[in-house]
Symmetry: C2
């Protein structure tokens, strides 16, 4: 039943031949956009290859019109790109490579013509991640929504719970873009190109996440609620207290540190790691990864869950701690 | 990182401690309803145990208000029960046992108060299936929708593609209930209790599917579009021609065979199997499985994809073939 193709793991199955019907026609349209990205479509469920090493991780993530984006802000391609990047980012935060994706669409009539471009946007991120599309669901509905389930394989799983006193707190990339883009749109303005791109076309940090896992990251998550809130989430899970230094935040052009602290949906990684482990990767990091890795704080003490992160230099009246 | 608990497979991880926030409060509410059914909640992704044997299969399925049901028809518990049963049915159709489920909710304000009962309905089916809830997503939105991703483990995968000439065509259970319930509601009437229950509270045939796989089923799917259409789907995937005998359909009380043929969302299994394999399981089937297994036709010849099933006795003018 299975062919092999040089991968250390087994391969996915071939598609099932499908009969006639309107839903099948739409599935065939999606498959024509996805080409070789789509495998094992048409059965009741997809069969995952047996793994040679590592552990599977799984996450599901929804992108809903008028909740996560407004149609006027994004092209249909960007809607798909962003939904897929956001979902894949959860795999990056576990230190996993992306293996496969399932895509459940809710499609109102007004979106039907845009579905091929949305599919292309999803496909661009699945392809960049080296993953395959192994299933999905199509439903009508009064709002447009994409719920993506992503499955990855981690050689070393990094949870949110391993941060230890003395670890450095690090962040990938440059913060504040999505927050700046949202603020512009909500004020009726066009965002700056950099900020717009950070909202519309984020990059899940899959290679960086796997490298950080291999390098000894003790805890990791992706920044979805803003680095200040996500530092508290990581602190709560680890039972430690994180101190962030606002002055060290890697902010984008024209972004105030205070805005970067609360800019969500960044899809950058927040990581804790012993200083020696960071020193071992820091020198060659940017050349190898193509994304910055910045020390923004330290794990200072064990702490109660309700007070697990604080920001220094966040006092605009000059009583800088 | 993992504990073991007597299962031949490894165990799921424990939950991550979560901090404060409205979304976390709703997650905690759901977790309080699900109790020990929910595991490994709170990280970016759940970690699946390593398997000792078998293969993982995965499927995703959406249940959208005003598309798959109307709120007036079902209790909130039934909305959850039905959504979970429908998703789990795809695992049954592969011959798989259910391992874990991820639940993505889109919740308008008008549904927030009903979420605990919806969660209970989902939980009832996850518990009956012996599975766990390992993640999900919460989103606001203008319609209520549940997208469930289900992961199972099959010792022997049964696809749609293996039916062979000479196989019997079998179906589990009794058909026509969901169609009769929908017809009643759409005519402004209350459905009969049996028909309503078949729509509102279906049972995924997980034990039957695994038993049929072990017994040598050659192809299998679950009846979502009506047995006539699904026989064509199975025929298309297998490249064979299925002949169904309308007079042999196991119909519910008061259901005409012609209605049973097109009654969808049955979540019964349509199976092909060599006669000898059927004979080996038929005698003890109903006592062991608690659900009927009825011969409804045969695989008659190799066939083109566009004409892969036909129904005998479906002529209401008496020229019964």
């Amino acid at each position: 039943m299975f062919s092999t193709h040089g991968s250390p793991d087994e391969a996915f199955r071939a598609h099932q031949a499908m009969g006639q019907g309107v839903e099948f026609d739409t599935i065939r349209l999606l498959m024509s956009r996805w080409g070789d990205l789509a495998v094992d479509i048409g059965d009741d469920a997809a069969v995952l290859p047996r793994l040679i090493s590592g552990q599977r991780v799984v996450s599901t993530d929804a992108c809903v019109e008028d909740v996560h984006f407004r149609r006027a802000w994004l092209t249909p391609f960007e809607v798909g790109h962003r939904a897929a990047a956001a979902a894949l980012s959860d795999l990056a935060a576990m230190g996993a490579r992306a293996e496969c994706v399932l895509v459940a669409f809710i499609v109102p009539p007004s979106w039907e013509g845009d579905l091929p471009q949305v599919a292309d946007g999803i496909g661009s991120q699945v392809r960049a991640a080296g993953a395959r599309i192994v299933g999905g669901n199509l439903s009508r509905g009064r709002i447009f929504a994409i719920t993506l389930t992503v499955i990855g394989v981690a050689e070393r799983v990094v949870s949110r719970a391993g941060a230890a006193v003395g670890d450095l707190v690090l962040v990938t990339g440059t913060l504040g873009g999505p927050g700046a883009a949202l603020a512009a749109w909500e004020n009726g303005n066009a965002p700056e190109a950099w900020a717009r791109s950070r909202f519309a076309a984020p990059s899940p940090r899959l290679a960086a996440g796997a490298a950080l896992a291999a390098a000894g990251a003790t805890a990791m998550l992706d920044i979805s609620d803003g680095i200040a809130a996500d530092a508290r989430h990581l602190g709560a899970a680890s039972g430690v207290w994180l101190a962030l230094d606002e002055r060290r935040l890697p902010v984008g052009p024209g972004v105030e540190p205070a805005s970067a602290l609360v800019s969500g949906e960044e899809y950058e990684l927040l990581v804790t790691m012993p200083p020696a482990a960071f020193a071992a990767v820091a020198e060659r990091w940017e050349a190898e990864q193509g994304v910055s890795l910045t020390v923004v704080g330290a794990v200072e003490s064990a702490g109660a869950a309700e007070e697990t992160a604080a920001v220094r230099g966040h006092d605009h009246f000059g009583t800088d701690q």
